[in-house]
């Protein structure tokens, strides 16, 4: 009985962590699927957004939820500007150039934040109604974990609906599947991408703020978890929202449980698993098979 409870609470923690991974990574997956652009600076947007949220709460006394909205909007705007001015010049560039550009960008992000705010961890104080524990019948669960799971499910459902039911969503899906054909159908790819990029970066900011409890928030955040975001995106399949969701859950749960039971080899296991998965299905678990 006690074992079951332990497992359950651990699963819960893992699922919650997975939700954070999902929220941050979903934007990266869609933009990579849409434009084929390797954006290693995505973690940087999560970090910037998290800092915007923390500063809004600290300096202007915004409430948690209001700060989240603020972080989303600010990061979306900043990323849209960057996309129009800089990213768009590299869409036809080689993969190496994209890697270099985004690495350079994330270096600049980390350095700027270190100078402006400082290198220490930024604590994000959760509002009282999110702290503490929930009594769910058999035992107590951490309230925040439950909230994160609910938020994650809401977001993935909303995104799924958005992709399946709206015209923009259909356009994005079409462009991810076959960009040239989508262009010939008259879809404005440039505008679509700016929108998607901005939305994805905003989501990353949201994830950065929501996940600060679990993952911390310091300037190195941008690079520390980059490999995890990339793993989630690659394993889930580029451009597949549901794919990213399941992959994030998988990685989140795995990481959480392994840290408890196999603290030594946990990360190695995840890397090995990723290698095996990508070798078996290079397009990701849910990605479209290229010819």
């Amino acid at each position: 009985m006690i074992l079951g409870v332990d497992v359950a609470s651990m699963l819960l923690g893992g699922v919650a962590a997975g939700m954070v991974l999902f929220i941050v990574s979903v934007g990266l997956s869609v933009t990579m699927g849409l434009m084929g652009f390797v954006n290693l600076a995505h973690g940087g947007f999560a970090m910037l957004g998290g800092y915007a949220i923390a500063q809004a709460m600290k300096l202007w006394g915004l409430g948690f939820v209001a700060a989240l909205v603020f972080g989303f909007v600010v990061t979306a705007l900043v990323s849209a500007v960057l996309e129009r001015l800089l990213y768009s010049r590299l869409y036809r560039a080689s993969e190496l150039d994209q890697v270099l550009f985004t690495i350079g960008l994330v270096f600049m992000m980390i350095a700027s934040v270190t100078v402006l705010v400082g290198p220490e961890n930024q604590p994000l104080k959760l509002p009282p109604f999110l702290q503490g524990q929930l009594n769910l019948g058999i035992t107590h669960y951490r309230t925040y974990s439950v909230v994160l799971i609910v938020v994650g499910v809401v977001i993935v459902s909303g995104l799924w609906l958005g992709f399946e039911r709206t015209r923009t969503g259909a356009q994005i899906r079409a462009a991810v599947d076959n960009r040239r054909m989508a262009e010939s159908l008259g879809i404005n790819i440039g505008r679509l991408f700016t929108l998607t990029f901005a939305f994805g970066s905003g989501m990353a900011a949201l994830g950065g703020g929501l996940g600060a409890e679990f993952l911390g928030l310091d300037p190195q955040y941008a690079l520390k978890y980059l490999v995890y975001f990339l793993i989630v995106v690659a394993v889930g399949g580029l451009g597949r929202v549901t794919g990213v969701f399941y992959a994030a859950l998988l990685i989140g749960v795995l990481d959480f449980t392994l840290k408890k039971y196999m603290p030594q080899g946990g990360t190695a296991f995840i890397y090995a698993l990723t290698i095996l998965l990508l070798l078996w299905r290079p397009q990701g678990l849910f990605g479209a098979k290229t010819a």
């Binding site: 890697v99 550009f101 690495i103 350079g104 960008l105 270096f107 490999v227 190695a268």
Partner: protein
Amino acid sequence: MTLQAAGWFEHPAAVALARRHRLRAWEPIPWLLAVAFYFVFPKYLGFGTELLITVLFAISLDLVLGYAGIVTLGHAAFFGAGAYTVGILAKRAIWNEPMSGLVMAALVAALIGLGSGLVLLRTQGLTLLMLTLCTMALLEEAANLAHDYTGGFDGLDSLPIAPLLGTFEFNPLYPRTQYLYVLSVLFVCFIVVRTLVYSPFGQSLTGIRENTLRMHAVGAPVRRRLVLCYTLSAAIAGVAGGIWAQANAYVNLGTLGLDRAATVLIILVLGGYGRLYGAFVGAVAYMALSHFLSKFYPTAWQLGLGLLLVVIALFARNGILGIAEAAARRLRPRATP
């Protein structure tokens, strides 16, 4: 008909092609400078040794990146493999002769390169990039776990490396032996890489990089060539790692880290990839700047480096040598008839 055929080999285009591998007048310069450095800056030989090892590592990366077009962020896996081979063998008193130690380092790294290359080079693009990252991270984790052998997070220090050729000792305070040793090894490896690059094998790598589909369409066994190139590059990176361990009498997890892999990529791109000597230029430029800036103003260094990368990616993708080439082209009068 035969008369005409006899003339083809003398056609200017054919002559240009056949002469391409010939030594250019300025090529001995970097080597002369390196030898001069030994005499002119005896107090900076430690820095010089580190610089030359970095050049060797960057050359190994140039082989896969500049010539075969494989984008990897995990090349430190082979550097670290070589370093740990030397380190573990020396620390456990199994083997500490330096030159044969390098051969072993190269073999181990080549084996890992072959194994991972066979498997990873089935993929391309982001998947390949991811897999190179994961392979290196996996190796790093494995080294961390096997701390009985590898010293874990602290690494292995005070490696007892035997004197070179039985007589020249590696003195950590006066790295004169180290410097000349590394310079000689670098020279030999460079000759190997240069020959490779100008060979038909190297030519086919260029073809694969420029237009992979076309290479398939002329019957080239593309994957086999890529795997071979990857393995050779891994071997040279292993030599660089092994010699790093010997010169520093020390090995740690940093030899396998993303930091080292990213730095060598930046260095190569800064100097100019696919140009053999880009490694030299990039290493000198980067390490000179880093030596002065990163210690005193680490944040400014990171900001400046980031800005530099952005500028390179947008405007100067061929690095310093690329800029030099473009300038030279503009200055030289048009030679076409």
